[in-house]
Symmetry: C2
Subunit: 270 residues, 2 copies
């Protein structure tokens, strides 16, 4: 399911000991656009290396990865990193900021398929056809590390751990998607929104942010698209959660008052 507990467990524990080239924000996840480009792009000294592609790699492997991930790219809020039909050449690791991916059908309907934050990979869809099959849009000013795909394949033929880690990331994306299918196929509005919030906070927490307060980077409409609901329903459900004393909602500022109440909502058939 839309997993609220798994995966990043080992990661969280490690976050404290990082000697990062950017301090990890604590507390609210406020916008922190990077002003100055770091002089050197290097996975080995990145504060996200315990969340991103390098998870579990040895120092030797890490140095190799540094040769691969040589460039970064800034994407302003509202701009696309890539869009459907673009030739696929690289994967992207979110360094700072926040993205959504969406697919659209011939007749113009579109569906948000995911939200990506620091340390998460974008572009895996492109491998299958050598073209991207979705749009990736920055929801705030963002920066990504460019990972040339051909070189990643080359390198992962040399380094078993990197190969395995990459496969895990792809597989994790498949598992995540299955969770979303479960959500879309069988949950009701309240459960969907609860699951969504728990998932978000869990990922934010793994990045050093508060587990109980967050600022949504996306509109009600984007949340609705992701959850298979209309924006009015999302809004109403937020209001209901507030009335029930589960949340405090001020526009995009959310505070979770009753975590276990949210938890109950997703675990209960009803």
């Amino acid at each position: 399911m839309f997993n609220t507990k798994s995966a990043t467990v080992a990661v969280e524990a490690n976050l404290n000991q990082l000697s990062a080239d950017q301090p990890i924000m604590r507390g609210m996840n406020t916008v922190t656009p990077i002003k100055i480009e770091p002089f050197k792009v290097a996975c080995s000294s990145c504060n996200l290396r315990e969340l991103c592609l390098p998870v579990g790699l040895s120092n030797a492997d890490l140095n190799q990865l540094d040769t691969l991930v040589a460039t970064r790219r800034n994407v302003n809020r509202g701009d696309t990193l890539f869009r459907t039909g673009d030739v696929f050449q690289s994967l992207y690791a979110v360094r700072t900021g926040f993205f959504k991916t969406c697919v659209s059908s011939e007749d113009g309907r579109d569906q948000v398929t995911g939200f990506q934050m620091a340390g998460e990979l974008l572009g895996l869809d492109g491998i299958s056809n050598d073209r991207h099959s979705c749009d990736a849009v920055a929801l705030e000013d963002s920066q990504v590390c460019v990972i040339p795909y051909g070189q990643l394949e080359d390198l992962s033929r040399e380094f078993t751990d990197l190969q395995h880690q990459f496969h895990k990331i792809m597989s994790r994306e498949i598992v995540r998607d299955h969770g979303v299918m479960l959500l879309l196929g069988s949950m009701r509005a309240e459960e969907r929104l609860a699951a969504f919030l728990l998932n978000l906070t869990q990922r934010l927490q793994a990045r050093g942010f508060s587990a109980s307060a967050l600022v949504l980077r996306m509109t009600r409409e984007e949340i609705g698209s992701y959850l298979g609901l209309k924006l009015e329903t999302v809004s109403r459900t937020f209001s209901k959660f507030q009335e029930d004393g589960i949340l405090e909602v001020k526009q995009r500022q959310i505070r979770i008052i009753d975590q276990s109440g949210l938890q109950k909502l997703v675990n209960t058939t009803c």
Copy 2:
């Protein structure tokens, strides 16, 4: 989206020239359990090699693959190939038969996440955690080729084409999942069922079956679970399609009368 045209185009053209160790069935997709085990398991002589993992591999690579895929396993109708929580060791390629995969949430709801037919891979979900995160159930007596995952990683470090093909298959699964999300998030019952049928027939056609007549291997309830509908709704929608002269429905025997009518249903908003 729930792609009804893409991907297997190149494959279809090739199917006629196969020197297969099992003749490809034409016409209705009737149950054809394999009675006698072939003496040798070999991708290089398998009739599915243009649909399965070996797509696009050279003869040299193919022979290597033969060393990898050494065993098969029979799974009777109703039995599971693997289930949630099982230790992950191998991927499986469907040789004959038909499977469903389903995930379930703590509270017992479950969701069919896919149906797999000959040439399609099962078990990719297991890579992320070293444990499977869904159940794979045979919907008819089936046979799969066992692909030990560790060995596949080893081999794909040696053979670029195999590596690339494997990555494409994983990526394709991600793209497919996004299509299902679009379907679950934004389509109405008729569109969902139409998209489902078109997808099924397209895949059957790529395997040499009729494009207009098929036998469903799954119950209305399983279709409903996959499409996020109740079995009654699936049944009613079938009946409606019949009244409208789009289908002929006799229990699980489906004949498509008006292909373009189906097509229109998925391409039209509303």
